[in-house]
Assembly symmetry: C2
Homo-oligomer: 264 residues x 2
Amino acid sequence: MIQSVDRAVRILTALQGARRMGLGELATQLELAPSTVHGIVRTLLDHGMIAQERDSGRYRLGPATLRLGNVYLDTLELRSRSVPWAEDLAARTGVAVRTAVLLAGVDRDLPERDVIVVAHEPRPGGGRQMNEVGIVVPAHACALGKALLAFDDTALPETDTLRSMTGETITDPARLRDELAAVRAAGIATEAEEAVLGEYGVAAPVGDHSGAVVGAIGLVVTQADWPLDPAAADALRATARSISRELGAASWPPAVTERPAASA
Amino acid sequence: MIQSVDRAVRILTALQGARRMGLGELATQLELAPSTVHGIVRTLLDHGMIAQERDSGRYRLGPATLRLGNVYLDTLELRSRSVPWAEDLAARTGVAVRTAVLLAGVDRDLPERDVIVVAHEPRPGGGRQMNEVGIVVPAHACALGKALLAFDDTALPETDTLRSMTGETITDPARLRDELAAVRAAGIATEAEEAVLGEYGVAAPVGDHSGAVVGAIGLVVTQADWPLDPAAADALRATARSISRELGAASWPPAVTERPAASA
DNA sequence: ATGCGCGTTCGGCATAGTCGAAATGTGTTC
DNA sequence: GAACACATTTCGACTATGCCGAACGCGCAT
Protein backbone atom coordinates (compact mmCIF):
# COMPACT_ATOMS: atom_id res chain seq x y z
CA MET A 1 0.00 0.00 0.00
CA ILE A 2 1.63 3.22 -1.14
CA GLN A 3 1.63 5.58 1.77
CA SER A 4 1.25 8.89 0.01
CA VAL A 5 -1.50 7.65 -2.28
CA ASP A 6 -3.33 6.27 0.71
CA ARG A 7 -3.02 9.62 2.40
CA ALA A 8 -4.24 11.40 -0.69
CA VAL A 9 -7.43 9.33 -0.75
CA ARG A 10 -7.86 9.90 2.98
CA ILE A 11 -7.69 13.62 2.34
CA LEU A 12 -10.38 13.35 -0.31
CA THR A 13 -12.49 11.28 2.05
CA ALA A 14 -12.04 13.82 4.82
CA LEU A 15 -13.14 16.58 2.46
CA GLN A 16 -16.19 14.60 1.52
CA GLY A 17 -17.19 14.46 5.18
CA ALA A 18 -16.65 18.10 6.03
CA ARG A 19 -17.52 20.36 3.11
CA ARG A 20 -14.55 22.67 3.58
CA MET A 21 -11.40 22.19 5.59
CA GLY A 22 -8.32 24.24 6.30
CA LEU A 23 -4.89 22.75 5.93
CA GLY A 24 -4.49 22.57 9.69
CA GLU A 25 -7.78 20.79 10.15
CA LEU A 26 -6.77 18.21 7.58
CA ALA A 27 -3.39 17.73 9.24
CA THR A 28 -5.02 17.26 12.62
CA GLN A 29 -7.56 14.78 11.35
CA LEU A 30 -4.94 12.70 9.54
CA GLU A 31 -2.40 13.14 12.34
CA LEU A 32 0.25 14.45 9.99
CA ALA A 33 2.46 17.50 9.76
CA PRO A 34 0.76 20.38 7.92
CA SER A 35 3.59 20.55 5.42
CA THR A 36 3.14 16.88 4.57
CA VAL A 37 -0.51 17.44 3.89
CA HIS A 38 0.31 20.50 1.90
CA GLY A 39 2.41 18.58 -0.59
CA ILE A 40 -0.35 16.11 -1.27
CA VAL A 41 -3.03 18.76 -1.36
CA ARG A 42 -1.01 20.77 -3.81
CA THR A 43 -0.74 17.80 -6.14
CA LEU A 44 -4.45 17.09 -5.99
CA LEU A 45 -5.05 20.78 -6.58
CA ASP A 46 -3.09 20.71 -9.82
CA HIS A 47 -5.31 17.93 -11.07
CA GLY A 48 -8.53 19.60 -10.06
CA MET A 49 -9.38 16.85 -7.63
CA ILE A 50 -9.71 19.53 -5.00
CA ALA A 51 -10.21 23.27 -5.21
CA GLN A 52 -9.07 26.04 -2.97
CA GLU A 53 -11.29 28.92 -1.99
CA ARG A 54 -9.60 32.06 -3.13
CA ASP A 55 -10.28 34.08 -0.02
CA SER A 56 -10.27 31.73 2.96
CA GLY A 57 -7.59 29.43 1.61
CA ARG A 58 -9.63 26.41 2.64
CA TYR A 59 -10.03 23.35 0.49
CA ARG A 60 -13.04 21.67 -1.08
CA LEU A 61 -13.48 18.82 -3.52
CA GLY A 62 -12.82 19.82 -7.11
CA PRO A 63 -14.59 19.37 -10.44
CA ALA A 64 -12.33 16.53 -11.55
CA THR A 65 -14.08 14.30 -9.03
CA LEU A 66 -17.35 14.89 -10.83
CA ARG A 67 -15.84 13.79 -14.10
CA LEU A 68 -14.50 10.61 -12.57
CA GLY A 69 -17.83 9.77 -11.00
CA ASN A 70 -19.65 10.41 -14.21
CA VAL A 71 -17.34 8.19 -16.22
CA TYR A 72 -17.76 5.50 -13.59
CA LEU A 73 -21.49 5.56 -14.17
CA ASP A 74 -21.00 5.39 -17.92
CA THR A 75 -18.76 2.37 -17.70
CA LEU A 76 -20.98 0.49 -15.28
CA GLU A 77 -22.69 -2.24 -17.21
CA LEU A 78 -25.04 -2.91 -14.31
CA ARG A 79 -26.35 0.60 -14.72
CA SER A 80 -26.85 0.57 -18.47
CA ARG A 81 -28.56 -2.80 -18.31
CA SER A 82 -30.74 -1.76 -15.40
CA VAL A 83 -32.15 1.43 -16.83
CA PRO A 84 -34.62 -0.04 -19.34
CA TRP A 85 -35.78 -2.65 -16.87
CA ALA A 86 -36.14 -0.06 -14.13
CA GLU A 87 -38.26 2.12 -16.39
CA ASP A 88 -40.52 -0.80 -17.12
CA LEU A 89 -40.70 -1.83 -13.48
CA ALA A 90 -41.53 1.69 -12.35
CA ALA A 91 -44.22 1.98 -14.98
CA ARG A 92 -45.84 -1.28 -13.97
CA THR A 93 -45.64 -0.88 -10.20
CA GLY A 94 -46.06 2.87 -10.05
CA VAL A 95 -43.20 3.35 -7.60
CA ALA A 96 -39.63 4.60 -7.69
CA VAL A 97 -36.83 2.16 -8.51
CA ARG A 98 -33.25 2.31 -7.31
CA THR A 99 -30.20 0.32 -8.36
CA ALA A 100 -27.17 0.22 -6.06
CA VAL A 101 -23.76 -1.33 -5.57
CA LEU A 102 -21.63 -1.96 -2.52
CA LEU A 103 -19.10 0.68 -1.67
CA ALA A 104 -15.58 -0.36 -0.68
CA GLY A 105 -14.70 -0.39 2.99
CA VAL A 106 -14.55 3.01 4.56
CA ASP A 107 -11.06 4.30 5.22
CA ARG A 108 -11.31 4.64 8.93
CA ASP A 109 -11.58 1.43 10.82
CA LEU A 110 -15.32 1.41 10.51
CA PRO A 111 -16.22 -2.20 9.83
CA GLU A 112 -19.55 -1.25 8.30
CA ARG A 113 -20.10 -0.86 4.64
CA ASP A 114 -22.30 1.41 2.61
CA VAL A 115 -24.23 1.08 -0.59
CA ILE A 116 -24.33 3.78 -3.25
CA VAL A 117 -27.20 4.33 -5.68
CA VAL A 118 -26.07 4.11 -9.30
CA ALA A 119 -29.42 4.43 -11.06
CA HIS A 120 -32.73 5.95 -10.07
CA GLU A 121 -36.02 5.83 -11.86
CA PRO A 122 -38.46 8.28 -10.29
CA ARG A 123 -41.99 7.36 -9.35
CA PRO A 124 -44.18 7.72 -12.45
CA GLY A 125 -46.25 10.88 -12.46
CA GLY A 126 -44.73 12.02 -9.21
CA GLY A 127 -43.81 15.43 -10.50
CA ARG A 128 -40.36 16.88 -9.99
CA GLN A 129 -38.27 14.48 -7.92
CA MET A 130 -34.71 14.68 -6.72
CA ASN A 131 -32.23 12.58 -8.62
CA GLU A 132 -30.96 10.07 -6.11
CA VAL A 133 -27.97 8.77 -8.03
CA GLY A 134 -24.92 8.99 -5.80
CA ILE A 135 -26.61 8.91 -2.44
CA VAL A 136 -25.03 6.66 0.16
CA VAL A 137 -26.82 4.54 2.77
CA PRO A 138 -25.40 2.16 5.37
CA ALA A 139 -25.76 -1.34 3.95
CA HIS A 140 -27.30 -2.86 7.07
CA ALA A 141 -30.01 -0.24 7.16
CA CYS A 142 -31.59 -0.59 3.74
CA ALA A 143 -33.17 -3.25 1.59
CA LEU A 144 -30.62 -2.76 -1.19
CA GLY A 145 -27.80 -3.24 1.27
CA LYS A 146 -29.34 -6.33 2.80
CA ALA A 147 -29.81 -7.89 -0.62
CA LEU A 148 -26.12 -7.27 -1.29
CA LEU A 149 -24.84 -8.42 2.08
CA ALA A 150 -26.96 -11.57 2.00
CA PHE A 151 -25.15 -12.78 -1.09
CA ASP A 152 -21.67 -11.49 -0.31
CA ASP A 153 -20.19 -12.98 2.80
CA THR A 154 -16.99 -10.96 2.36
CA ALA A 155 -18.90 -7.76 2.95
CA LEU A 156 -20.35 -8.62 6.33
CA PRO A 157 -19.57 -6.05 9.01
CA GLU A 158 -17.37 -7.33 11.81
CA THR A 159 -18.57 -5.43 14.80
CA ASP A 160 -20.90 -5.89 17.72
CA THR A 161 -22.96 -2.75 17.31
CA LEU A 162 -24.12 -1.42 13.98
CA ARG A 163 -24.67 2.26 13.50
CA SER A 164 -28.23 3.31 14.17
CA MET A 165 -30.00 5.59 11.69
CA THR A 166 -33.52 5.57 13.07
CA GLY A 167 -35.16 3.76 15.96
CA GLU A 168 -35.90 0.90 13.59
CA THR A 169 -32.34 0.27 12.39
CA ILE A 170 -31.00 -3.20 13.08
CA THR A 171 -28.02 -2.68 15.35
CA ASP A 172 -27.50 -6.24 16.52
CA PRO A 173 -25.23 -8.24 14.19
CA ALA A 174 -26.88 -11.50 15.24
CA ARG A 175 -30.29 -10.22 14.24
CA LEU A 176 -28.84 -8.96 10.98
CA ARG A 177 -27.39 -12.39 10.24
CA ASP A 178 -30.79 -13.96 10.84
CA GLU A 179 -32.44 -11.50 8.52
CA LEU A 180 -29.82 -12.05 5.83
CA ALA A 181 -30.52 -15.78 6.00
CA ALA A 182 -34.18 -15.01 5.37
CA VAL A 183 -33.20 -12.82 2.45
CA ARG A 184 -31.18 -15.65 0.92
CA ALA A 185 -34.20 -17.91 1.22
CA ALA A 186 -36.71 -15.44 -0.19
CA GLY A 187 -34.47 -13.74 -2.76
CA ILE A 188 -35.90 -10.45 -1.53
CA ALA A 189 -34.91 -8.05 1.24
CA THR A 190 -37.15 -5.53 2.95
CA GLU A 191 -36.66 -2.34 4.89
CA ALA A 192 -39.10 -0.45 7.08
CA GLU A 193 -37.93 2.98 8.26
CA GLU A 194 -34.52 1.56 9.06
CA ALA A 195 -32.55 4.18 7.19
CA VAL A 196 -34.96 7.11 6.83
CA LEU A 197 -38.19 7.67 8.72
CA GLY A 198 -41.20 7.24 6.46
CA GLU A 199 -39.22 5.27 3.88
CA TYR A 200 -39.97 1.64 3.11
CA GLY A 201 -38.63 -0.66 0.47
CA VAL A 202 -37.86 -4.04 -1.00
CA ALA A 203 -34.81 -5.10 -3.00
CA ALA A 204 -33.40 -8.08 -4.87
CA PRO A 205 -29.82 -9.03 -5.74
CA VAL A 206 -28.37 -8.90 -9.25
CA GLY A 207 -25.59 -11.26 -10.31
CA ASP A 208 -23.25 -11.41 -13.29
CA HIS A 209 -21.47 -14.04 -15.36
CA SER A 210 -19.02 -14.82 -12.58
CA GLY A 211 -21.98 -15.95 -10.50
CA ALA A 212 -21.31 -13.35 -7.83
CA VAL A 213 -23.65 -10.59 -6.79
CA VAL A 214 -22.71 -7.24 -8.33
CA GLY A 215 -25.60 -5.02 -7.33
CA ALA A 216 -29.16 -4.82 -6.18
CA ILE A 217 -32.35 -3.30 -7.50
CA GLY A 218 -35.25 -2.25 -5.35
CA LEU A 219 -38.49 -0.35 -4.91
CA VAL A 220 -38.81 2.62 -2.58
CA VAL A 221 -42.14 3.80 -1.19
CA THR A 222 -43.59 5.89 1.61
CA GLN A 223 -45.69 4.59 4.47
CA ALA A 224 -48.91 5.16 2.51
CA ASP A 225 -47.93 2.49 -0.02
CA TRP A 226 -46.66 -0.01 2.55
CA PRO A 227 -46.91 -2.97 2.54
CA LEU A 228 -46.48 -3.37 -1.18
CA ASP A 229 -48.72 -5.41 -3.42
CA PRO A 230 -47.26 -8.95 -3.54
CA ALA A 231 -47.35 -8.65 -7.30
CA ALA A 232 -44.78 -5.84 -7.04
CA ALA A 233 -42.36 -8.15 -5.26
CA ASP A 234 -42.83 -10.74 -7.97
CA ALA A 235 -42.21 -8.13 -10.66
CA LEU A 236 -39.07 -7.03 -8.83
CA ARG A 237 -37.82 -10.59 -8.61
CA ALA A 238 -38.43 -11.11 -12.31
CA THR A 239 -36.62 -7.87 -13.12
CA ALA A 240 -33.60 -8.78 -10.99
CA ARG A 241 -33.47 -12.14 -12.72
CA SER A 242 -33.70 -10.55 -16.16
CA ILE A 243 -30.92 -8.08 -15.51
CA SER A 244 -28.76 -10.84 -14.07
CA ARG A 245 -29.33 -12.91 -17.18
CA GLU A 246 -28.34 -9.97 -19.40
CA LEU A 247 -25.14 -9.68 -17.38
CA GLY A 248 -24.41 -13.31 -18.08
CA ALA A 249 -25.58 -14.96 -14.86
CA ALA A 250 -26.42 -18.63 -15.24
CA SER A 251 -28.75 -18.77 -12.27
CA TRP A 252 -30.68 -16.59 -9.88
CA PRO A 253 -30.45 -15.77 -7.02
CA PRO A 254 -26.66 -15.45 -7.25
CA ALA A 255 -24.31 -17.76 -5.37
CA VAL A 256 -23.04 -16.49 -2.03
CA THR A 257 -19.56 -15.02 -2.36
CA GLU A 258 -17.58 -16.84 0.30
CA ARG A 259 -15.06 -15.32 2.60
CA PRO A 260 -11.63 -16.47 1.36
CA ALA A 261 -10.98 -18.64 4.43
CA ALA A 262 -8.37 -16.69 6.36
CA SER A 263 -7.01 -19.90 7.84
CA ALA A 264 -3.75 -19.66 5.91
CA MET B 1 4.29 17.79 -6.54
CA ILE B 2 4.23 14.37 -4.91
CA GLN B 3 5.22 11.87 -7.54
CA SER B 4 3.13 8.89 -6.51
CA VAL B 5 0.00 10.93 -5.93
CA ASP B 6 0.46 12.50 -9.32
CA ARG B 7 0.79 9.05 -10.83
CA ALA B 8 -2.30 7.86 -9.01
CA VAL B 9 -4.38 10.64 -10.50
CA ARG B 10 -2.89 9.92 -13.91
CA ILE B 11 -4.00 6.33 -13.55
CA LEU B 12 -7.52 7.45 -12.74
CA THR B 13 -7.45 9.78 -15.70
CA ALA B 14 -6.24 7.01 -17.98
CA LEU B 15 -9.06 4.78 -16.79
CA GLN B 16 -11.54 7.52 -17.50
CA GLY B 17 -10.37 7.61 -21.09
CA ALA B 18 -10.35 3.89 -21.79
CA ARG B 19 -13.18 2.16 -19.95
CA ARG B 20 -11.11 -0.85 -18.92
CA MET B 21 -7.36 -1.31 -18.88
CA GLY B 22 -4.98 -4.08 -17.96
CA LEU B 23 -2.02 -3.45 -15.72
CA GLY B 24 0.36 -3.65 -18.65
CA GLU B 25 -1.63 -1.16 -20.68
CA LEU B 26 -1.56 1.28 -17.80
CA ALA B 27 2.17 0.79 -17.35
CA THR B 28 2.78 1.39 -21.04
CA GLN B 29 0.65 4.50 -21.16
CA LEU B 30 2.30 6.02 -18.09
CA GLU B 31 5.75 4.77 -19.14
CA LEU B 32 6.33 3.04 -15.83
CA ALA B 33 7.25 -0.42 -14.66
CA PRO B 34 4.20 -2.67 -14.20
CA SER B 35 5.11 -3.33 -10.59
CA THR B 36 5.18 0.38 -9.88
CA VAL B 37 1.72 0.78 -11.31
CA HIS B 38 0.57 -2.24 -9.40
CA GLY B 39 1.40 -0.72 -6.04
CA ILE B 40 -0.59 2.41 -6.77
CA VAL B 41 -3.45 0.49 -8.31
CA ARG B 42 -3.63 -1.77 -5.32
CA THR B 43 -3.92 1.20 -3.00
CA LEU B 44 -6.67 2.78 -5.06
CA LEU B 45 -8.38 -0.59 -5.14
CA ASP B 46 -8.50 -0.78 -1.36
CA HIS B 47 -10.28 2.55 -1.28
CA GLY B 48 -12.77 1.63 -3.99
CA MET B 49 -11.47 4.34 -6.30
CA ILE B 50 -10.99 1.63 -8.88
CA ALA B 51 -12.44 -1.85 -9.24
CA GLN B 52 -10.99 -4.97 -10.73
CA GLU B 53 -12.96 -7.30 -12.95
CA ARG B 54 -12.97 -10.65 -11.29
CA ASP B 55 -12.34 -12.68 -14.43
CA SER B 56 -10.17 -10.63 -16.76
CA GLY B 57 -8.16 -8.94 -14.01
CA ARG B 58 -8.54 -5.62 -15.74
CA TYR B 59 -9.25 -2.38 -13.94
CA ARG B 60 -12.13 0.07 -14.12
CA LEU B 61 -13.08 3.12 -12.11
CA GLY B 62 -14.70 2.27 -8.80
CA PRO B 63 -17.81 3.38 -6.93
CA ALA B 64 -15.88 5.64 -4.56
CA THR B 65 -15.39 8.05 -7.45
CA LEU B 66 -19.15 8.43 -7.72
CA ARG B 67 -19.41 9.36 -4.09
CA LEU B 68 -16.71 12.00 -4.44
CA GLY B 69 -18.37 13.50 -7.47
CA ASN B 70 -21.71 13.59 -5.78
CA VAL B 71 -20.36 15.30 -2.69
CA TYR B 72 -18.62 17.80 -4.93
CA LEU B 73 -21.97 18.72 -6.44
CA ASP B 74 -23.52 19.05 -3.01
CA THR B 75 -20.84 21.39 -1.78
CA LEU B 76 -20.86 23.59 -4.86
CA GLU B 77 -22.59 26.80 -3.96
CA LEU B 78 -22.77 27.79 -7.62
CA ARG B 79 -24.94 24.77 -8.22
CA SER B 80 -27.32 25.21 -5.32
CA ARG B 81 -27.77 28.89 -6.12
CA SER B 82 -28.25 28.19 -9.81
CA VAL B 83 -30.95 25.58 -9.58
CA PRO B 84 -33.92 27.80 -8.67
CA TRP B 85 -32.88 30.42 -11.21
CA ALA B 86 -32.37 27.80 -13.87
CA GLU B 87 -35.84 26.38 -13.26
CA ASP B 88 -37.33 29.82 -13.62
CA LEU B 89 -35.28 30.57 -16.71
CA ALA B 90 -36.23 27.30 -18.35
CA ALA B 91 -39.89 27.88 -17.58
CA ARG B 92 -39.85 31.36 -19.08
CA THR B 93 -37.77 30.65 -22.17
CA GLY B 94 -38.98 27.11 -22.80
CA VAL B 95 -35.48 25.74 -23.38
CA ALA B 96 -32.95 23.64 -21.48
CA VAL B 97 -30.50 25.38 -19.14
CA ARG B 98 -27.00 24.26 -18.25
CA THR B 99 -24.59 25.50 -15.61
CA ALA B 100 -20.90 24.67 -15.93
CA VAL B 101 -17.49 25.30 -14.42
CA LEU B 102 -13.98 25.16 -15.81
CA LEU B 103 -12.14 21.90 -15.37
CA ALA B 104 -8.53 21.95 -14.25
CA GLY B 105 -5.84 21.51 -16.88
CA VAL B 106 -5.70 18.09 -18.39
CA ASP B 107 -2.83 15.92 -17.19
CA ARG B 108 -1.18 15.39 -20.50
CA ASP B 109 0.43 18.41 -22.03
CA LEU B 110 -2.77 19.39 -23.75
CA PRO B 111 -2.98 23.13 -23.37
CA GLU B 112 -6.72 23.13 -23.92
CA ARG B 113 -9.22 23.16 -21.13
CA ASP B 114 -12.65 21.67 -20.75
CA VAL B 115 -15.82 22.69 -19.04
CA ILE B 116 -17.99 20.34 -17.04
CA VAL B 117 -21.73 20.68 -16.56
CA VAL B 118 -22.69 20.89 -12.88
CA ALA B 119 -26.41 21.55 -13.20
CA HIS B 120 -28.94 20.83 -15.90
CA GLU B 121 -32.54 21.90 -16.14
CA PRO B 122 -34.29 20.02 -18.94
CA ARG B 123 -36.42 21.71 -21.54
CA PRO B 124 -39.93 22.13 -20.10
CA GLY B 125 -42.41 19.60 -21.44
CA GLY B 126 -39.73 17.89 -23.44
CA GLY B 127 -40.51 14.44 -22.11
CA ARG B 128 -37.83 12.17 -20.80
CA GLN B 129 -34.42 13.78 -21.28
CA MET B 130 -30.96 12.63 -20.39
CA ASN B 131 -29.43 14.19 -17.33
CA GLU B 132 -26.45 16.12 -18.59
CA VAL B 133 -24.72 16.76 -15.30
CA GLY B 134 -21.14 15.63 -15.57
CA ILE B 135 -20.68 15.87 -19.29
CA VAL B 136 -17.47 17.44 -20.50
CA VAL B 137 -17.00 19.75 -23.49
CA PRO B 138 -13.87 21.52 -24.76
CA ALA B 139 -14.04 25.09 -23.53
CA HIS B 140 -13.25 26.70 -26.86
CA ALA B 141 -16.08 24.82 -28.57
CA CYS B 142 -19.09 25.81 -26.50
CA ALA B 143 -20.83 28.94 -25.34
CA LEU B 144 -20.37 28.03 -21.68
CA GLY B 145 -16.64 27.62 -22.20
CA LYS B 146 -16.29 30.86 -24.10
CA ALA B 147 -18.13 32.73 -21.37
CA LEU B 148 -15.64 31.28 -18.88
CA LEU B 149 -12.52 31.83 -20.97
CA ALA B 150 -13.50 35.40 -21.81
CA PHE B 151 -13.37 36.37 -18.15
CA ASP B 152 -10.46 34.19 -17.08
CA ASP B 153 -7.24 35.05 -18.80
CA THR B 154 -5.38 32.34 -16.88
CA ALA B 155 -7.43 29.66 -18.60
CA LEU B 156 -6.58 30.59 -22.18
CA PRO B 157 -5.18 27.72 -24.20
CA GLU B 158 -1.58 28.21 -25.33
CA THR B 159 -1.45 26.44 -28.61
CA ASP B 160 -1.69 27.25 -32.26
CA THR B 161 -4.35 24.75 -33.25
CA LEU B 162 -7.38 24.00 -31.14
CA ARG B 163 -8.99 20.59 -31.27
CA SER B 164 -11.81 20.41 -33.80
CA MET B 165 -15.10 18.83 -32.81
CA THR B 166 -17.22 19.63 -35.84
CA GLY B 167 -16.58 21.56 -39.00
CA GLU B 168 -17.71 24.70 -37.20
CA THR B 169 -15.31 24.52 -34.28
CA ILE B 170 -12.99 27.48 -33.89
CA THR B 171 -9.51 26.07 -34.27
CA ASP B 172 -7.59 29.29 -34.74
CA PRO B 173 -6.48 30.86 -31.43
CA ALA B 174 -6.45 34.32 -32.96
CA ARG B 175 -10.07 34.00 -34.00
CA LEU B 176 -10.93 32.67 -30.56
CA ARG B 177 -9.29 35.69 -28.96
CA ASP B 178 -11.34 37.99 -31.15
CA GLU B 179 -14.51 36.21 -30.24
CA LEU B 180 -13.68 36.29 -26.54
CA ALA B 181 -13.22 40.05 -26.78
CA ALA B 182 -16.71 40.26 -28.25
CA VAL B 183 -18.01 38.11 -25.41
CA ARG B 184 -16.46 40.48 -22.88
CA ALA B 185 -18.20 43.37 -24.57
CA ALA B 186 -21.60 41.72 -24.86
CA GLY B 187 -21.55 39.73 -21.63
CA ILE B 188 -22.90 36.81 -23.66
CA ALA B 189 -21.21 34.04 -25.62
CA THR B 190 -22.75 32.04 -28.44
CA GLU B 191 -22.13 28.68 -30.04
CA ALA B 192 -23.41 27.28 -33.33
CA GLU B 193 -22.70 23.61 -33.93
CA GLU B 194 -19.15 24.07 -32.70
CA ALA B 195 -19.21 21.17 -30.27
CA VAL B 196 -22.08 18.98 -31.43
CA LEU B 197 -23.84 19.11 -34.79
CA GLY B 198 -27.35 20.44 -34.43
CA GLU B 199 -26.64 22.04 -31.09
CA TYR B 200 -26.75 25.79 -30.57
CA GLY B 201 -26.49 27.89 -27.46
CA VAL B 202 -25.80 31.07 -25.58
CA ALA B 203 -24.13 31.48 -22.20
CA ALA B 204 -23.24 34.15 -19.67
CA PRO B 205 -20.56 34.24 -16.96
CA VAL B 206 -21.28 34.03 -13.24
CA GLY B 207 -19.00 35.68 -10.71
CA ASP B 208 -18.66 35.50 -6.95
CA HIS B 209 -17.71 37.78 -4.08
CA SER B 210 -14.04 37.72 -5.07
CA GLY B 211 -15.03 39.36 -8.31
CA ALA B 212 -13.71 36.45 -10.39
CA VAL B 213 -15.74 34.31 -12.72
CA VAL B 214 -16.63 30.95 -11.13
CA GLY B 215 -18.98 29.45 -13.66
CA ALA B 216 -21.32 30.05 -16.54
CA ILE B 217 -24.98 29.48 -17.23
CA GLY B 218 -26.45 29.01 -20.66
CA LEU B 219 -29.32 27.95 -22.87
CA VAL B 220 -29.08 24.99 -25.23
CA VAL B 221 -31.33 24.57 -28.26
CA THR B 222 -31.54 22.71 -31.53
CA GLN B 223 -31.40 24.26 -34.97
CA ALA B 224 -35.20 24.66 -35.06
CA ASP B 225 -35.06 27.20 -32.23
CA TRP B 226 -32.05 29.10 -33.54
CA PRO B 227 -31.52 32.00 -33.49
CA LEU B 228 -33.04 32.57 -30.07
CA ASP B 229 -35.53 35.28 -29.22
CA PRO B 230 -33.51 38.33 -28.09
CA ALA B 231 -35.67 38.33 -24.96
CA ALA B 232 -34.16 34.98 -24.03
CA ALA B 233 -30.66 36.46 -24.07
CA ASP B 234 -31.85 39.30 -21.87
CA ALA B 235 -33.42 36.84 -19.46
CA LEU B 236 -30.19 34.85 -19.41
CA ARG B 237 -28.15 37.95 -18.67
CA ALA B 238 -30.50 38.89 -15.85
CA THR B 239 -30.27 35.38 -14.44
CA ALA B 240 -26.47 35.34 -14.55
CA ARG B 241 -26.44 38.70 -12.80
CA SER B 242 -28.86 37.48 -10.13
CA ILE B 243 -26.88 34.34 -9.38
CA SER B 244 -23.67 36.37 -9.25
CA ARG B 245 -25.27 38.74 -6.78
CA GLU B 246 -26.38 35.84 -4.60
CA LEU B 247 -22.79 34.62 -4.63
CA GLY B 248 -21.66 38.00 -3.38
CA ALA B 249 -20.49 39.62 -6.59
CA ALA B 250 -20.45 43.41 -6.48
CA SER B 251 -20.74 43.89 -10.21
CA TRP B 252 -21.56 42.08 -13.42
CA PRO B 253 -20.06 41.00 -15.75
CA PRO B 254 -17.19 39.79 -13.57
CA ALA B 255 -13.71 41.28 -13.76
CA VAL B 256 -11.24 39.50 -15.99
CA THR B 257 -8.95 37.23 -13.96
CA GLU B 258 -5.48 38.32 -15.05
CA ARG B 259 -2.63 36.04 -15.77
CA PRO B 260 -0.20 36.40 -12.83
CA ALA B 261 2.50 38.09 -14.95
CA ALA B 262 5.07 35.35 -15.38
CA SER B 263 7.83 37.99 -15.69
CA ALA B 264 9.40 37.07 -12.36
C1' DA C 1 1.21 -30.91 -22.98
C1' DT C 2 3.58 -26.51 -23.46
C1' DG C 3 4.31 -21.91 -24.45
C1' DC C 4 2.84 -17.28 -23.86
C1' DG C 5 0.83 -13.30 -21.61
C1' DC C 6 -0.92 -11.54 -17.71
C1' DG C 7 -1.24 -10.01 -12.80
C1' DT C 8 1.25 -10.54 -8.67
C1' DT C 9 5.08 -10.98 -5.19
C1' DC C 10 9.63 -10.11 -3.34
C1' DG C 11 14.07 -7.61 -2.07
C1' DG C 12 17.87 -4.04 -2.66
C1' DC C 13 19.09 0.48 -3.96
C1' DA C 14 18.35 5.18 -4.28
C1' DT C 15 15.28 8.44 -4.95
C1' DA C 16 11.49 10.94 -3.35
C1' DG C 17 8.61 12.10 0.51
C1' DT C 18 8.30 13.40 5.20
C1' DC C 19 8.89 16.48 8.83
C1' DG C 20 10.68 20.76 11.73
C1' DA C 21 11.34 25.37 11.52
C1' DA C 22 11.25 29.67 9.37
C1' DA C 23 8.87 32.89 6.26
C1' DT C 24 5.00 35.05 4.11
C1' DG C 25 0.64 36.88 4.02
C1' DT C 26 -3.92 38.17 5.76
C1' DG C 27 -7.48 39.30 9.00
C1' DT C 28 -8.29 41.05 13.59
C1' DT C 29 -7.90 43.51 17.84
C1' DC C 30 -6.55 47.06 20.71
C1' DG D 1 -2.82 52.59 12.50
C1' DA D 2 0.16 49.15 14.32
C1' DA D 3 1.05 44.92 16.27
C1' DC D 4 -0.65 40.52 17.24
C1' DA D 5 -2.20 35.92 16.08
C1' DC D 6 -3.51 32.51 12.99
C1' DA D 7 -2.93 29.80 8.93
C1' DT D 8 -0.83 28.69 4.70
C1' DT D 9 3.31 28.19 2.33
C1' DT D 10 8.38 27.58 1.55
C1' DC D 11 12.82 25.50 2.37
C1' DG D 12 16.39 22.03 3.50
C1' DA D 13 18.20 17.75 5.57
C1' DC D 14 17.40 13.01 6.91
C1' DT D 15 15.84 8.62 6.16
C1' DA D 16 12.04 6.04 5.50
C1' DT D 17 9.59 4.90 1.51
C1' DG D 18 8.37 3.83 -2.85
C1' DC D 19 10.63 2.47 -7.28
C1' DC D 20 12.23 -0.94 -10.24
C1' DG D 21 14.07 -5.61 -12.06
C1' DA D 22 13.52 -10.28 -11.68
C1' DA D 23 11.14 -14.31 -10.37
C1' DC D 24 6.56 -16.64 -9.37
C1' DG D 25 1.89 -18.43 -10.25
C1' DC D 26 -1.97 -18.64 -13.00
C1' DG D 27 -5.10 -19.08 -16.98
C1' DC D 28 -5.53 -19.44 -21.77
C1' DA D 29 -4.60 -20.71 -26.35
C1' DT D 30 -2.05 -23.20 -29.22
